[in-house]
């Protein structure tokens, strides 16, 4: 097996296993808070910010944050026109941001090419990428552990949460901020398009299989890492794109979970606007 002999693949493996675990655990809370659509929208909306930060030689996190803030402001502006519904506003702003980011990324002056921004460059992982992945995993693990009780209340009983010392709005904002950091840190490795698969599929699988919250978090982290391992092995052995293979591996694991526990309870459906924090 090539992965056993290639230092390049082993570095990529280490990075994806760490990122997969972090994304899996984070994804569980995103799904419980019904922010899966927000996760995808956030990843797309920050693309112009990432490209401009790359052009200016600034930290990608700064670009990601600016991209999200500008998109949020534009959405708020668009929804002032009552003829434009919230869902339409989100759709227009996010696709506009994504298209603008794609155009900017095609400029020869951009150090990072569009294909790498969209699909990642896992096989180009260096020491700095491994450090970033490790730092992100530590941040996600620490933040989720420290915020476990607050997150639990915000999800389970947002009506009573304020009387129990928790502000659900603040908790959701903190989780979205953590998501923004995770996307900014992982986007160059996993890609703007494929990162979403690693955030959602392992978490969905973990929620199907786990009977307790801690079991769901543990399983999602493990399945996220497993998707990275399986996808990278498939990529190296079958000469397939790494990012796409990992995304498909994540979805395949969810399919196995769905077959293993077909009767598992599902969360009530929610419209995309509700997922972005609209009325409940």
């Amino acid at each position: 097996m090539e992965i056993l002999h290639s230092g390049l693949l082993q570095r990529a493996l280490l990075e994806i296993v760490v990122l997969g675990g972090a994304c899996g655990a984070l994804g569980v809370w995103l799904l419980h808070l019904r922010h899966a659509y927000a996760a995808e929208s956030l990843a797309h909306a920050m693309l112009p910010g990432l490209v401009l930060a790359s052009l200016a030689g600034l930290p990608l996190l700064a670009g990601a944050g600016a991209g999200v803030l500008v998109s949020a402001a534009l959405i708020a502006l668009a929804t002032r026109d009552t003829r434009v519904g919230s869902e339409i506003a989100v759709g227009i702003v996010v696709t506009t941001a994504f298209g603008l980011g794609a155009l900017l990324a095609l400029s020869p002056a951009v150090p990072v090419g569009l294909d790498k921004l969209l699909f990642g460059d896992l096989l180009g992982a260096g020491a700095a990428d491994l450090f970033a992945a490790g730092a992100l995993a530590a941040l996600v693990a620490g933040a989720l552990a420290a915020g476990h009780r607050r997150l639990t209340l915000a999800v389970f009983d947002p009506v009573s949460a304020p009387s129990l010392g928790v502000r659900p709005g603040g908790v959701e904002l903190a989780l979205l901020a953590l998501l923004a950091i995770a996307v900014a840190a992982a986007v160059l490795s996993l890609g703007n398009l494929l990162l979403f698969a690693l955030l959602v599929a392992p978490a969905a699988a973990g929620m199907r299989l786990g009977r307790s919250l801690r079991a769901q978090l543990g399983l999602a982290a493990g399945l996220g890492s497993a998707a990275g391992l399986l996808g990278l092995i498939a990529s190296s052995e079958l000469d397939l794109a790494a990012g796409g293979s990992i995304a498909l591996a994540a979805v395949a694991l969810y399919a196995v979970a769905a077959i293993a526990r077909p009767g598992a309870p599902r969360a009530a459906r929610r419209t995309p606007m509700e997922a972005l924090g609209g009325s409940r």
Partner: protein, 250 residues
């Protein structure tokens, strides 16, 4: 439980931000051991009053004072029934506010949560999933959570809604025990006849219509002023039933 509880409001008014005043001129007082039925139509101000007393809404007029910790017991349908928490996990949430974010919940609080579940008759179901319990059982778990908060004043939002008679009797027994312990209970309800059995009634319709002992307060005139066309008089006016509109927004 902490020393004797008491709650008092004088000319209390509350609003939702910069909008119109949602509730005005509420004045009442209740001592430990008393249960106050809070009656009113949907949108009449029951939830507004509770939220104002919890400090979640801006008070635009009057004052209120509370001696003892206060806890809110919501309707169980407002919780995420698909979320994987056990009855013990929910009861333990009552200790969250007094536990620093960097500390684990103490063994003493865990024991308190188990004892609270025993008190509401659900000790053997501590590890069952909250969403798998019946409506009445879930309501009792939420009452246990309020006990873990060591609340002297409990605000109960329609605790009998959607429960069968057996569960209603069980909940009533628990509430009687809480009164005997010296706690104050404010119970939002649409059941006018049940309210006649409590110590006091507070009638709201955007403002206070009446407050006092049920026998002298729940007159036909007061009920009509409170519920308008949503009150139905039966038995030649000797019995009243409030028409309930089920809220499917959540």
């Amino acid at each position: 439980m902490s020393p004797a509880a008491r709650i008092e409001a004088a000319g209390l008014g509350a609003s939702y931000g910069a909008g119109a005043v949602a509730l005005r001129d509420v004045s009442f007082a209740a001592e430990g051991g008393q249960a106050v039925a809070v009656l009113g139509p949907n949108g009449g101000g029951k939830t507004t009053l509770f939220r104002a007393l919890l400090g979640e809404l801006a008070t635009v007029a009057g004052t209120f004072s509370i001696e003892g910790a206060i806890a809110y017991v919501p309707q169980t349908e407002r919780s995420r029934l698909d979320f994987p928490v056990s009855a013990l996990d929910v009861a333990l949430m009552g200790a969250y506010a007094r536990t620093s974010w960097y500390r684990r919940v103490t063994a003493a609080d865990r024991a308190l949560a188990r004892a609270a579940l025993e008190q509401v008759g659900l000790g053997e179901r501590a590890h069952e999933r909250f969403g798998a319990l019946s409506g009445g059982q879930r309501q009792r778990v939420l009452i246990a959570r309020a006990l873990v908060q060591d609340a002297g004043v409990l605000l109960l939002d329609e605790p009998f809604a959607g429960v069968d008679q057996t569960s209603e009797d069980a909940i009533m027994g628990i509430l009687d025990a809480l009164r005997a312990e010296g706690r104050v209970l404010l119970i939002a309800t649409h059941d006018v006849e049940q309210a006649r059995g409590w110590d006091r009634v507070l009638c709201l319709r955007g403002e206070q219509i009446a407050y006092g002992e049920p026998s002298s307060t729940l007159t036909n005139a007061v009920l009509e002023a409170t519920y308008g066309a949503e009150i139905v008089m039966l038995d030649c006016g000797h019995r009243a039933v409030a028409i309930q509109h089920h809220d499917h927004a959540h």
